[in-house]
């Protein structure tokens, strides 16, 4: 033995280890700070990226190790009996199988999980980065409060990012008192109008007084006095406004009270109907109480009803501004989600969604197009076809009632393109498919290749009562094809390793007294040349296998692919045995 390394498997393991270190170093050095990776997830990003690169290069490293093993480090022992030859051969083959199992565990076990985690942290990172950029733009546009709000959300997921923290601190230091109050009002999560702010009320009392709106000025001044009885300015406004308004506004006050009562009565009726499930009445009640609350801010009943209506809104609608904000992050969007939403009474419903963004526990949609059609006696009739600009997933429905927080005229409604939409649209489109599956129905999702073998099996019977993609042509076929190729790949690795052993045995070094150190440079270079070679080999392998599958059909294709693997495996084993067996002394 010319080297302490004793077995081919240990040479291959050594090559894999060196390759892994090199890949980790490469991943660390090429992970730029400007990348989307979250600050706190940077190390896991570097590690996961390195692991995926290593898995992709596993073939190259293993084959390079196999080439080097017998060509430089090992010599074939001399065998004097067949039994010891077979023992040696079986030990080599078993070690190769064990290494291949290691590849399988990396490729099908860890890699899909890492890919998923990287995808998720990428999505969060992109979201945080987009918020950061929006904050910078808002700050430049002169709206530091919105900028701070964006930065606050961005830092929720990227709390250790120094740039974002520095920007937030800088904006904070430039805020005026009023802006700070506004920021607080926003970040406490409650509506500013519900909060009583004595200074703001006094300011409004002053403004009303200046406009000679004495009843309003009086109301605001009295509200200030309720919390600050010694406020001189409020006392002065209350005194003058009270005196001025007493006589001339008595009649108007009575009219206002009557109006308030009538409107409240109407609102309560609408609210009751809304509670019973009538979304339209609920919207009416919400906007009615909102208007009343603006006009009579100190009426406690109105405030209570408005709160009640606001609490009920999320069950039947969403704020369009939230949907617009979520959908503005294009990088997070699943594009072109198209699916058949079940079949009821012979009517098949098609749903086409241009974009879908899942932000936290909320999922928003852009351009939801729904068409129902009936196919009977060889003819097709479109019963309805409509389009909604926005939607939100609420329960098991795609809700289409986008409303504006303050302006009823800016509500989004469906546009009917053909026919008459079915009843019950107030709650939205009732999903006949699990909401969690919507993501898979996106045309932009080409991640079948990214899923692990177990996940791929889980998409098909018997692991699933019905295939996920039963209504799509070819998708199940592509999954079966992917599974077949994944199962064949480890065998291909064994075949290549055995052939590489044979090449190594043919091209073995001719040093009598140990190789010079300069030669070891090539031990380091060969694995990296092999990466380029293996990329071409694996591309040709995959292309050829897919072609066979497509050309011959699934069943025959799989049989032929399997037969070819068996043939080449036997050939490789015979060739390797022949090379090793040449040293058998009879």
């Amino acid at each position: 033995m010319r080297n302490p390394v004793a077995t081919p498997a240990s040479v291959i393991l050594g090559t894999l280890f060196l390759g892994f270190i090199a890949v980790v170093a490469f991943s660390y050095l090429t992970t730029s700070k400007t990348m989307y990776a979250l600050e706190q997830a940077r190390w896991s990003y570097v590690w996961e990226r390195a692991f995926l690169l290593f898995t992709d290069s596993f073939f190259a490293f293993q084959c390079a190790g196999a080439l080097i093993a017998y060509s430089l480090f090992l010599s074939v022992p001399v065998f004097f009996e067949r039994r010891s030859l077979f023992r040696y051969l079986s030990s080599v083959v078993i070690s190769i199988v064990v290494l291949t199992v290691l590849f399988l565990v990396c490729r099908e076990g860890f890699a899909p999980a890492f890919k998923r985690h990287m995808r998720e942290s990428r999505a969060v990172g992109l979201f945080s980065d987009a918020l950061y950029r929006s904050a910078l733009e808002e700050e430049k546009a002169g709206d530091p409060v919105t900028a701070l709000e964006y930065l606050r959300i961005a830092l929720l997921s990227d709390g250790r990012n120094k740039d974002k923290i520095a920007e937030k601190t800088a904006i904070f230091s430039r805020l005026t008192d009023a802006q700070y109050e506004e920021y607080l009002a926003r970040t406490t999560g409650s509506d500013p109008r519900e909060e009583f702010d004595a200074a703001a009320a006094l300011e409004r009392a002053r403004a009303a007084f200046a406009k000679k709106d004495y009843p309003r000025a009086l109301a605001f001044a009295q509200a200030v006095l309720a919390v600050d009885r010694a406020n001189a300015e409020a006392l002065r406004i209350a005194g003058i406004a009270g005196e001025k308004s007493y006589g001339e506004n008595a009649a108007r006050q009575t009219a206002d009270e009557r109006y308030l009562f009538a409107q409240k009565e109407m609102g309560v009726k609408a609210l009751t109907a809304g509670k019973a499930g009538n979304a339209e009445e609920l919207f009416r009640a919400y906007y009615l109480f909102l208007d009343l609350h603006r006009r009579f801010p100190f009426d406690q009943n109105t405030a209570g009803y408005l709160q009640e209506a606001s609490d009920l809104l999320p069950s039947v609608s969403f704020f369009t501004a939230d949907a617009e904000l979520a959908l503005s992050f294009k990088n997070l969007a699943d594009a072109d989600v198209v699916f058949f939403n079940g079949e009821r009474d012979g009517v098949r419903e098609l749903v086409s969604i241009e974009e879908m963004v899942a932000a936290g526990d909320r999922t928003y949609f852009r351009n939801v197009e729904v068409a129902g059609f009936r196919e009977q006696n060889g003819t097709r009739r479109v019963l309805y076809h409509y389009l909604a600009p926005f939607g939100k997933l609420i329960g098991k429905n795609i809700n289409l009632n986008g409303i504006d927080k303050a302006e009823p005229s800016r509500r989004t409604t469906i546009r009917i393109l053909e026919g008459v939409p079915p009843d019950g649209l107030a709650k939205g489109v009732a999903l006949a498919v699990p909401a969690a599956d919507l993501h898979s129905f996106s045309l932009s999702q080409t991640d079948i290749a990214d899923r692990g073998l177990g996940e791929l099996f889980a998409l098909l019977p018997p692991f699933r009562p019905q295939p996920l993609f039963a209504q799509y042509a070819r998708v199940d076929d592509l999954i079966v094809r992917e599974i077949a190729l994944r199962i064949a790949l480890p065998f291909f690795l064994i075949i290549l390793t055995l052939f590489c052993f044979c090449i190594g045995l043919t091209q073995n070094a001719r040093y009598l007294s140990g190789a010079p150190k300069s030669v070891y440079v090539w031990v380091l270079v060969i694995p990296f040349v092999m990466i380029a070679v293996m990329e071409v080999v694996l591309f040709l392998y995959r292309m050829g296998a897919v072609f066979l599958y497509e050309a011959l059909g699934p069943l025959v294709g799989i049989i032929v692919i399997a037969a070819l693997h068996v043939f080449f495996l036997i050939l490789a084993l015979l060739r390797f045995s022949g090379k090793i067996g040449s040293s058998l002394r009879k």
Binding site: F340, E369, F373, E375, G504, A509, R510, A515, E535, E550
Partner: protein, 360 residues
């Protein structure tokens, strides 16, 4: 006894020389067949949109064109493999070199002339014939995911799709177009669905998951682009059938032959193979650079008139080299010079060490 020994040695050497030639021919046949098949598969998969269940005759139709495209790399690779084998058992070295060189040169010069099938015409012909059998149109009453679209139809009548719809993702909403009847035609850019009304015709292309196995990723693409560029130049010259083709074939063969000197850099043959391959790739990349970038810039600097000064149109040089006098002389001159240097090192400055002293 000496005479007998010499005779035995000569017989073995001649045998090894002949073996080298036979190995070259066999390797060339295998490599060319493999590369041609792989390229034909690639062509069908990547350029024949929605290829139907692949009939053997379709593969056969594309084979000649594929053969032309892969011939240069196949010959160079085979020559390299033969040289690796020859270095172990060189036989009569000069004769081995001469025979291998002559064979490779002959194959390169005459090979492409044997097959004159223009690739694009063949592809267009196959596309035109595959209207009816479009594979993805064999799925009535199912959503067919395509590149940027979803297609659905109730049934197929001839080349028409009946009672269906197309969700065209490239369009602003509304994107669903229902149709009662829409004809499918194939043209140079693939299959097209003729929708009634303002929607018009829509090109149908396979979804990414279907075409991905036939689309090499960036690194593989750059490897292929390297050979593609070399091959395009070679085919352009060989199409002219002038002196340029002769010079290119000769020089390329000489470079591969001479670079075999790197097959004895160390006493580790495997490392030598990698070294020689790397050197060869570098030289050919340099050759590509000279032709595609350096000479183009020089031409811009010096102008067209200088270009024709040495080889005026109608003159004997232009007649021999065609339109590409400078493109032939400069890069091939550089390659010829490198070959000469390598040959000098191989045979004059560092003649081969004797095999009886393996650790010398």
């Amino acid at each position: 006894l000496n005479t007998r020994a010499i005779t035995c040695y000569n017989t073995a050497a001649v045998k090894d020389t002949l073996l080298a030639v036979i190995i070259f021919c066999l390797v060339l046949a295998v490599v060319a067949a493999f590369c041609t098949l792989a390229f034909a598969v690639y062509l069908i998969g990547s350029r024949l949109f929605l290829f139907p269940a692949v009939a053997p005759e379709m593969l056969l139709k594309v084979v000649p064109a594929a053969f032309r495209q892969v011939f240069l790399p196949a010959v160079l690779l085979s020559l390299f493999f033969a040289l690796v084998r020859m270095r172990r058992k060189p036989g009569l070295v000069f004769l081995s070199y001469l025979l291998l060189g002559a064979l490779a040169f002959g194959a390169l010069y005459f090979g492409p002339q044997l097959v004159a099938a223009p690739l694009n015409a063949e592809i267009a012909k196959v596309r035109a014939e595959s209207v009816v059998g479009l594979r993805d149109l064999a799925y009535p009453r199912q959503l067919i995911p395509l590149e940027g679209a979803y297609l659905y139809f109730d049934r197929k009548e001839g080349a028409d799709l009946v009672d269906g719809f197309l969700v065209d993702d490239a369009r602003p909403a509304p994107r669903v177009d229902f149709f009662d009847r829409a004809p499918v035609t194939t043209g140079a850019d693939g299959a097209r669905l003729g929708l009634p009304g303002p929607a018009g015709a829509k090109t149908l292309a396979p979804q990414a998951a279907e075409s991905a196995p036939f689309a090499p990723d960036t690194s593989v693409q750059s490897t292929f682009a390297f050979f593609q560029s070399l091959n395009d130049r070679f085919l352009a010259f060989s199409g002219e059938r002038t002196g340029a083709a002769l010079v290119v074939c000769l020089v390329v063969v000489l470079v591969v032959l001479s670079s075999s000197v790197f097959l004895r850099v160390t006493r580790w043959p495997l490392a030598n193979v990698f070294i020689a391959l790397l050197v060869l790739c570098l030289i050919l990349a340099f050759y590509n650079f000279l032709i595609n970038q350096f000479l183009v810039e020089v031409k811009k600097l010096l102008g067209e008139s200088f270009w024709t000064t040495l080889a005026p149109k109608g003159g004997p040089l232009a007649a021999f080299f065609g339109e590409s006098f400078w493109l032939t002389i400069v890069p091939n001159g550089v390659l010829a010079f490198l070959s000469l240097v390598f040959f000098l090192f191989d045979f004059v400055f560092l003649p081969e060490r004797k095999r009886e002293r393996p650790d010398a």
